[in-house]
Symmetry: C2
Subunit: 351 residues, 2 copies
Amino acid sequence: MKAAFMYGAGDVRVEDAPAPVIQEPTDAIVRAVRACICGSDLHPYHSLPGSEHGLSMGHELIAVVEEVGADVRTLKPGDFVVVPFAFSDNTCEICRDGFQTACPHGGWYGTPAAAGLQAELARIPQADGSAVVVPGVDPETAPEGLLKSLLALSDVYLTGYHAAFMAGIEPGQTVTVIGDGAVGLSAVLAARRMGAGTIILMGRHAARTDLGREWGATHVVAERGAEGVATVMELTGGLGSHAVLEAVGHMPAYEQAYGVVRPGGIISRVGVPQYEEAPVGFGSLFGKNARLAGGPAPVRAYLEDAIRDVLDGVIDPGRVFDRTIGLSEAAAGYAAMDAREALKVMVDPRR
Amino acid sequence: MKAAFMYGAGDVRVEDAPAPVIQEPTDAIVRAVRACICGSDLHPYHSLPGSEHGLSMGHELIAVVEEVGADVRTLKPGDFVVVPFAFSDNTCEICRDGFQTACPHGGWYGTPAAAGLQAELARIPQADGSAVVVPGVDPETAPEGLLKSLLALSDVYLTGYHAAFMAGIEPGQTVTVIGDGAVGLSAVLAARRMGAGTIILMGRHAARTDLGREWGATHVVAERGAEGVATVMELTGGLGSHAVLEAVGHMPAYEQAYGVVRPGGIISRVGVPQYEEAPVGFGSLFGKNARLAGGPAPVRAYLEDAIRDVLDGVIDPGRVFDRTIGLSEAAAGYAAMDAREALKVMVDPRR
């Protein structure tokens, strides 16, 4: 089967790989319907040291189950499923608390535990605790827009949703979203769903912020840094934002976040931090009792409700996909996202 | 009048100072009944550069009102009051949200805005929004234990309470308190009041941890660093603590905090951070969706309820005071707290 590998910064190749097989009785083997490229895939695309061994890529997938291990109870061959970007048993105390990305029996794709999902076939560990069936949809005949929105639940939309959820947004509150990438726009949509009164989107790419406005942004701030902070403070009457959803992961975004959060407010991060240390002392968070939250989204916790919302037409998160490529074109897909020619690239492995 | 000043690390002097006068119509002048020395006063006691100009010290006080400005409505001469460690208008949007320590019209004692409170007399700015009357108590005849518990509401107990409040402790949860100083012990008491099921107190001073056990600690962990983290992880079945109340402010305490917080759990800090940058990335907070909260306690938000609890005998937070000195003995009081000979020193300016 074909699968995408990264051999170093900027070097993505699609190669033949052995077809996955059931290794544990809790595994399932699935055949990809659609995969995609994540903003977080661009971090290694910028910085991965060159190697003879390619890194198996991808962690977002909608798929059809081909085979299940002896202990799998909720899935059977032929089921159409959404696969969250991390796997989890969904039965332990941490999962029951809603933090499946920290499941002690879970893990990540593109690691020794499980190959990446930009591939024709994939092995899904802890299949019962991870993949969720989409009822009543045949992926062969489903509209492309529906497939896009279901694929968006695998990571991008529910990552934006997680930012809003962890911020505990209350109706009428002011929310600032930092980043107009696909996750930031998803955070706008989620914040609106939670009843935010004012949604300020910090971003400078008009095509993207236009979708942000459609999804609920009441203001767009193109300025960055101190200038951007000053504009948001002005828009919030000098008080700052109740919640700040940080969907970038770089230090300047974090600095903007604590610059615009109001006393007692909360910064909720879902952009994977490209830093380990950051200001949290009296001058940044502590002095104004600002809170910090966020992490890898426990997609599994939100997935059943979100599938229902998509099937009911309540949300249309698939609109972040503005380009579709075949799996063999993966290198061009990464390049297009890196150059910001595409907001988010869907991969059709059958094409 | 006499007041305490710090001229550099380890150099506390009690000197004559001009009696304060009403400067704004919202001011009150009060006469100290009891003041005290704060753990946070020990930070400058260790590090303040020497100067010819003494720093006016102290921010905790119970007092009798002597005079009020023309706009003061809730206080009158003769009222016995608790004075929170920061002043605030208590009417603005930030105060109404419960974050009075970030009030745009508020401020701190021992600054150009207001002298310190280790003094015979003090000017209380924004008096209506800050001081709260203790009903039905005559400080001349009140038992010493009651005075101590009321004084503890000025800062130390409600700072511990704030840690627990911001952690949102739910009944039955596991709470780890880092630090067996007066604030840490207060955090134990507050966590018990909120229904914590297991309370692990990290501290190594037996006289202090004994009071912690009386106040609700179910376990005491004397080890620090990696060893202390390992012990807490063992006590929590490898999962970590739902809430960690950090009552120290030094980096090793912060490191212990993120070491023992469980996935999705929360670190609530009330020890004034002696650092600005700290780990918050994938390896510390983000990876396990751990949250960070805390800051200067908005004592005013909690004060009325806490006064009632003290008067009703529900809590006895004054037990942290294990030494009383006259104001003229302030230098010895600082030295005793610094040497850990005293847990917390009360200052009786009439003695």
